[in-house]
């Protein structure tokens, strides 16, 4: 196919992929990223094993429908907190993007973090950049087979461990480990271990920068948070151009050259395979590898560092950089308000909650005494970390409260920490007594005739009256 027959570049979604072989780099930002990798992966692989009061400290216990976060137990009723937390996370991403550019991509994104580890494994088995390129181009040999096999073994074992850890956040990890060791893993658990392991293997081993370029939604919309005062990785064109090779010790100005020696180190270290000297590109994940590479060359040449550096577009254009600007202030204020609200709401969260279900089989029963009886199923939830003895009472906002009584008279139930307790209680209501009831309680009488009235159940902790919860229910009686 000749060039003329090919679809124009702007019409095609597809570009043949060229494998990127990032060169190893050392420097300030690489050290920072390595630290981030250690801390983040340390948290990921370590947290499931952390204990708290005889249970897993961080456990999103899906089978039991409750989340344990250190001393906190969250229930499906607390879903608002999870949603709130996600909003905070999204807004922090906006805030940090507006101020510092793609810091997330360069240092914290799981894709970056796991790719770093996979590339490190590739390096220790297949050698540095030049060796890897040579090995891939070479014909299959014993050496190539052994090196590739070693790499795949490392990758697969690490991926499986990753999948296992992931599932360990959702089912107790010690039980899971026991099941793996005795080969008695449940089919769905095994499936999710393999699924997550395979995703890690594929994303970090093969897709790598293609995930950022073609799959990541954030990479596409992050430019909406950018302005000319956002920190980006820039090449100082004024200082660097015209680029060109020169001997060490040559005065570049006398030779008519800029500071860029055109050594292409910045291109070789780039994990996404771009040339930062062409300006800001959406493929740039701001990992700063090119800064470290260029700084080391500048040091060798005896030039000042920072030909490639973190800077803002305004600074590159010799204008004033404004850190506090409307965008940053709005994101910042919203973020602080949401965080404060979250902490307050969490502190004020009632550790007791109550659900009331009316008995499904019988609406009401008329007793020999003339009283009407309804049966309710109370769902008492103790989200606290200690057992609570809960006392139930019943009230009515409209009717004379004296007309209702509970059987047993003062029901009390001990609910263990982090458990749901189902209890049945009977509520009895006096029949309407024309002679005894005053005629001004007209509305109450009408409701009584309709046969339905509202009651309110209240529970409070026996030794801490500030812990209370209530729920509304309907009381049914025969129509009169």
């Amino acid at each position: 196919m000749s060039r003329a027959e090919q679809p124009p570049a702007d019409e095609s979604y597809y570009q043949a992929h060229q494998k990127v072989y990032p060169r190893e780099v050392k420097g300030r930002f690489t050290a920072l990223r390595t630290t981030a990798v250690w801390v983040l992966l340390g948290l990921f692989y370590g947290l499931p094993w952390l204990r708290w009061d005889d249970r897993q400290a961080i456990l999103f216990d899906l089978p039991a429908r409750k989340f344990h976060l250190l001393g906190l137990t969250m229930w499906p009723q607390d879903f608002i907190f999870l949603a709130w937390l996600l909003v905070i996370a999204a807004l922090s991403l906006f805030f940090f993007t507006a101020v510092g550019g793609r810091l997330w991509c360069g240092y914290a994104c799981p894709q970056t973090v796991w790719t770093e580890v996979f590339i490190w494994m590739e390096r220790i088995t297949e050698g540095d950049r030049a060796k890897r390129m040579k090995l891939d181009a070479a014909a299959w040999s014993h050496n190539k087979l052994m090196r590739k096999a070693a790499k795949q073994t490392l990758w697969i074992v690490f991926s499986l461990w990753t999948g296992f850890t992931f599932v360990g956040f959702f089912t107790p990890v010690d039980v899971l480990a026991e099941k793996v060791l005795t080969l008695s893993l449940g089919s769905w658990e095994a499936f999710w271990v393999l699924f997550y392991g395979f995703a890690t293997y594929g994303n970090a081993g093969f897709l790598r920068e293609q995930v950022c370029k073609y799959m990541c939604p954030y990479a596409r919309f992050q430019s909406a948070m950018f302005d000319r005062d956002t920190l980006i990785i820039t090449y100082d064109v004024d200082r660097g151009e015209p680029r060109g090779g020169r001997r060490k010790g040559t005065d570049p100005r006398a030779a008519g050259l800029g500071d860029c020696t055109d050594c292409t180190m910045c291109v070789q270290v780039c994990p996404t395979g771009i040339d930062i000297r062409n300006g800001l590109q959406y493929e740039c994940i701001a990992c700063a590898a090119c800064i470290d590479a260029c700084d080391s060359v500048m040091d060798k040449m005896g030039y000042a560092r920072g030909l490639v550096r973190y800077d803002t577009q305004n600074a590159v254009d010799h204008k004033q950089t404004q850190v506090l600007r409307p965008r940053v202030i709005v994101y910042g204020v919203l973020l602080v308000a949401l965080c404060i609200g979250f902490i307050v709401a969490l502190a004020m969260r009632q550790p007791i909650s109550l659900d009331v279900l009316h008995d499904r089989n019988t609406l009401y029963r008329t007793l020999e005494t003339g009283e009407i009886e309804n049966v309710y199923l109370l769902k008492l939830i103790n989200k606290d970390s200690v057992p609570q003895r809960l006392i139930v009472s019943v009230q009515s906002e409209h009717d004379n409260a004296d007309r209702y009584r509970l059987d047993p008279a003062i029901p009390a139930f001990t609910v263990p920490a982090g458990e749901v307790f189902n209890a049945a209680v009977r509520v009895r209501k006096n029949a309407w007594d024309d002679s005894a009831e005053a005629s001004e309680r007209h509305e109450e009488r009408e409701r009584d005739e309709a046969g339905v009235s509202e009651v309110r159940f209240e529970v409070r902790a026996e030794n801490d009256p500030s812990l209370r919860a209530s729920a509304e229910a309907r009381f049914f009686a025969p129509r009169r």
Binding site: S12, Y14, L62
Partner: protein, 100 residues
């Protein structure tokens, strides 16, 4: 879109991987995976599937919640993938604009 069948016209030196269709299929699968994850999270936060299954299947062995969540996730994934796939297919096979 002028090219239909085999869009990966390489110039030999480049590593050929997925064609346009392959890439579209992956994009569809990936985007519906994202929305299915969201849907699963929100849906099962409000709905506990266990009682429903107990009612539908009063005897016999009940599937675990893990199994029900997983099946729910795949259901959402398939539904979103059908929608995304149709969208992709309609966009990519749209008739060329009539020349005036």
């Amino acid at each position: 879109m002028s090219h239909k069948s085999s869009p990966d016209a390489d110039n030999g030196t480049q590593q050929s991987e997925l064609g346009l269709r392959g890439r579209l299929a992956f994009t569809v699968a990936w985007c519906s995976f994202l929305s299915a994850s969201m849907a699963t999270l929100v849906f099962f936060a409000f709905v506990d599937p266990a009682p429903f299954v107990a009612v539908l299947q009063p005897t016999g062995v009940l599937p675990s919640r893990t199994a029900l969540y997983s099946l729910g996730f795949f259901f959402f994934w398939i539904v979103s993938a059908v929608s995304a796939g149709l969208t992709a297919s309609l966009l990519c096979t749209s008739p060329p604009a009539r020349r005036s």
